[in-house]
Symmetry: D2
Subunit: 388 residues, 4 copies
């Protein structure tokens, strides 16, 4: 019975998630679907197909002996990084695939969605449900990446086109309020039996020193003070490699900010608009978050400080860079086979972000969720929270 409910719930979630991904893409022109302006930004068409391939590879091929592949070569075209699942198109070439067309990819989606629903109807095998749940969460993660990538693609068009969406920030308050957490032993990591990724498992004790943490993230208005104070020019605020990064790339403000005759504008899905000073600052690299904190005489919280304080602070508008490198928890173990490549092999040279953004699907904003990006990345919905 347990299973029956779970199956019913997951089936509904599956249908909803598949529809939601397509809703995200509905405002796009065909031309917007195929382009890869930088290596990190995948074409929307690729996302649509890749998250479909994920269900095909890990569900249909494993559990449906009658399943016919939609196309012989799609595994090669739409595998992202799973070495255990075979060869694949190298990442920088995703934007060169004009075929299959967008409409063929939608046909692929439809075919796989229906095949999964058919399989779910027939099966009683509980292990399918676990993989289905991973697949749903995987597609949700790509929904957020789609929001980033669509913004990047459109926000770098010379004509700044409009994309209709309700992914919108709201004003922040209580800007100067800090809460105090006292020194002591705390427990972190995912504990109950709800869904989580492997990198959150292994709940364990950590010892934290006394700290204070801001109730709200840093706003555009506050960040602009840093710019005006020459923050991008004073080398003392920056990591050595952060300084190289902003100098080599001539960075003087967050991504999407443009200075037009002395006034600051940004691209925000609607087109180019004046900066709203009350909204949280977004699209900063770890280096910029760190430099801002240095300028304030403070620091970024560690991921554990963040997690312990989470119930008392406002979060969920922007992913917040923490001072913690992305490393395995004690007792971290990887799955056998391709799914073991999901998180573990990225645990080096990246930093943890916590919180969730306005583009994050509900349920991914749990306090134990560990997001991670390289310190120079700015196209994600990243912001800053101060600690001291």
């Amino acid at each position: 019975m347990m299973t029956k409910n779970k199956k019913k719930e997951l089936t509904a979630a599956f249908i909803a998630v598949r529809a939601q991904t397509e809703a995200l893409c509905a405002p796009l022109e065909i031309e917007d679907y195929s382009v890869q302006p930088i290596v990190d930004v995948s074409p929307p068409k690729w996302h649509l197909a890749h998250i479909t391939w994920f269900f095909e590879e890990f569900l249909l091929r494993k559990f449906d002996s009658n399943y016919q592949d939609f196309h012989d070569d799609f595994a090669y075209l739409f595998n992202s990084y799973y070495n255990n699942a075979g060869d694949r198109v190298i990442r920088p070439n995703r934007g060169l695939m004009t075929r299959p067309t967008v409409s063929e990819v939608y046909a692929y989606r439809k075919y796989v969605t229906q095949s999964v629903l058919d399989l779910l109807e027939r099966t009683e095998d509980e292990s399918i449900l676990d993989l289905l749940e991973i697949g749903i969460n995987h597609e949700q993660q790509h929904q957020e990446l789609l929001a980033y990538d669509i913004k990047y693609i459109l926000g770098h068009q010379p004509l700044f086109p409009t994309y209709k969406t309700d992914i919108k920030l709201i004003s922040e308050e209580n800007l100067d309020t800090f809460i105090h957490i006292t020194e002591g032993l705390y427990e972190v990591g995912h504990k109950d039996d709800s869904f989580c990724f492997d990198n959150e498992l292994g709940a364990h004790k950590v010892y934290l020193q006394d700290y204070k943490i801001a109730v709200a993230p840093v706003t555009n208005g506050e960040y602009l003070e840093f710019i005006h104070a020459g923050g991008y020019k004073n080398f003392n605020y920056w990591h050595a490699e952060g300084l190289d990064f902003i100098r080599n790339n001539k960075i003087e403000a967050p991504m999407y900010w443009h200075n037009v005759n002395g006034d600051w504008y940004y691209y925000n899905y609607e087109g180019l608009e004046k900066i709203d000073m009350r909204l949280p600052v977004m699209h900063v690299s770890f280096y910029e978050a760190f430099a801002y904190a240095e300028w304030k005489g403070m620091r970024l919280p560690t991921e554990f400080e963040w997690e312990i304080a989470a119930p008392q602070i406002k979060h969920g508008q922007v992913w917040e860079w923490t001072g913690s490198a992305y490393l395995p928890y004690p007792n971290f173990t990887k799955d056998e086979g391709a799914l073991g490549e999901y998180n573990g092999k990225f645990m080096v040279s990246q930093h943890v972000l916590r919180g969730g953004s306005i583009a994050t699907p509900k349920g991914h904003c749990r306090p134990t969720y560990r997001n991670f990006f390289h310190p120079q990345h700015r196209w994600l919905f990243s912001g800053i929270r101060l600690a001291k």
Copy 2:
């Protein structure tokens, strides 16, 4: 009267050329229009808009005082390399422009075509006709580039899609026949008052030594012997920089050739097919053409040897690499302003090709026409003719 006939002819030519360009693109999917897989290959959408901008910039803006630009930013988006015509999107970013869409570009074409036709109806100014003729020839040059770029885009898809076209090679004969031209003084360059480009002007005398030149270009079958004889491995046949080029790029055969289990195939618009040994070899770089000739104990003809022999030899299937660098003729002069940038500023580091290919619009195959590319280029329809 002269003018009236000329106007009538050019108007008809203009209409035909505009239609022909769109016919070339008709078999494409929307997705194929926007991609730029390498810097040299421009997106078909860009070609469609650029050759339209050319008429807008050099005809409508100059001669039609009532002309309203179709869009304020298109000059910035679709100028290719004319510094005198203002700023422009840098070349490597042509493939990142998802907007304007393909259908907007077709609307742009329609608007400009009609505006030119309206202007032609109203005007009696002969200088317009000269610019119109340049514009027509310019669009024809881009038709050939479109053929190259479409082939590159589709030929580099993992799925090798089909493109319907009658751009097709025919078999060569008389392979081992050479004609003999005797030493003496000859005249080269464009002489009569038909249309030509500035780089052909300045007819002048040249003194040629005795030489023999092949009646037909080298075939796939002949070129395959070079491959089988280890031609790509023997450094003695290659320029030093040619050797670096084939080694660094792991080149072992012409572009589009694939060795599948020991048999040679190529992509030729229809998909992947077995090599036809009787067709002229195509898609070789200057380095390969040179190395092939070295292996045969012969050489490539100079552009003047080619031009003098042209009436007695078969040509027009592939552009033929000559041994001549692309340099100005004696008394070469450039136009004032942007059109002066058409040819002159490229007269360094390139090699001249003569003849014309199956993708070359009629009229561009004249014996004085000087085509030019860098020695490493292979995506054009280039082949080899021997001399000794």
Copy 3:
């Protein structure tokens, strides 16, 4: 009195350290002093001058009002990375400076050494002694870098020349022995008032889970088993970026290892010699250390696990990669001015190594010492210790 002893001791240490650096370089030819084969490897001449400039900049210019610079431009030539100390030659150009000559640099050393000794004789200012101690430790750190860089320079000569030294490894024992540390709260970081760097300060409590840690580092013999088992080929053992690293650089063994007709040799200061299986493996990147541990079904210890276990384990032959990223301790603070750039600005994208190597000056092998390098570095004397 305290001061008088301290001054006496430090003066003696200063003299000894200055002599020791020159002893390290004594076996070099003039030609070996100036070369910079990769960006990371600085020319020995540059080291000799830079560590001298350090005393000039931070001691003599600050405290000796009569001090005359040895040369106006040496600050520009030999500043390493201190933005607060002014402009400098960019790092990749260190190997292009043929002037000043080696003998001029030795004259510079002599002049500065004598000036420091004169100043010490005259002064009673205790703060000088602190800076002197930093300078001595700084020069000692460069002694170790000199050992790395000399090995790199000579070990990459086609002729594998000999360098006379007693920097030599000894055999390891107790290879399969692990000790067990029980879960609980521990204290880490530098506590007493002996010398340490700023990155070790801020002793604090950490909570460790139960773990086992090897008594000895991994040997060449053990590592060779990993190679023979196809460890460099199996992607499942590697970080994604580690896999890219070994593939792009065609890495199949530690740095300095050469496979000659099926037998493994390495360059080890004496020339090319057969691998000694009983010695600790050296010259591996973090990626290789991690992959080795994965293959063993174990992991690398964290830096805190290492520090707590240090008294019970053998260490000091090779720096041991830990699983910890190089990040600031709680309450880490930087000095004002240039010395604040010593460590803090590197606390991103690097990994901590603990232990000390055969090239590490005595006193730097303390258990709290935090060495740090990027995960791809291999030219340091780095090795592997397992934990589980």
Copy 4:
């Protein structure tokens, strides 16, 4: 008898050339010998050894059956680009070889010089003398390259050291005088039986149009007018790739020119000195020479125009960029084997310079001599002569 005289003369020339090369290097410090600041600039030590290897490889190994190689690995270390002579150190790594030392290379020179002299004493074989003559000319070419490379190495030291030499320019006169050559058939190429390189052979007729050519090369003063007139800013004077070149490299003046507080200085072996306006301009690329001519409304002469005018014009201070690409003469043939690689394989993508410079050994200044460099090169002693 003929032979006896020839042998005597060549033996004397050999001794003189060997001594002259060492005289060029005498003012260097050991440190200056080993550095390779850019790929094009080889370390003086490498030159010293390479030109010695040339005699060893092509004379001693071929004709002296008792000859013992000085060192087994020197052929590998000091072969420049002769594929037929075996593997070699790749060019960018020449500057990393600290061993053999400078004094070992001088010992190598001495050994080979003596071995050649011994062989000459014993032999009556005339073909040795031809190879000896090539070797002497080869060493002379490297003497000129040594002058360039030494200037580059010292001129890029932050301290601008002095190098004692009598390689010095003298003032130019008759600046605005042009001579007129009438249209007609002329003969070019090397005719008599004196020594020349293979690329000069094949004397042949060329037809030249009427032209005027300047009696003297362009001076620093004249070139400065071009700079002041904004010549480096006006895109209309430049080849497209020339414009990219000066923009990407931020070039605003000839190499070695420095603008210090509004005044122009250059490095000229003595140190940094004020520009002398009456001397010929030196260290310009082909692109700059071309742009200067465009600005003057003139052009560069072709290599044949230059050769025919040579007897009537002053030359020999700077190599003069011609408008001619470096291509084979009619009937050009290469030697069998390694010496066939001497010139032929470079006949693409380079431009011909004619005339000879103050660093050119006597005898290399003959009017038929074809020097060649890539259009962006500036470290040679290159200048400008105008034609129209």
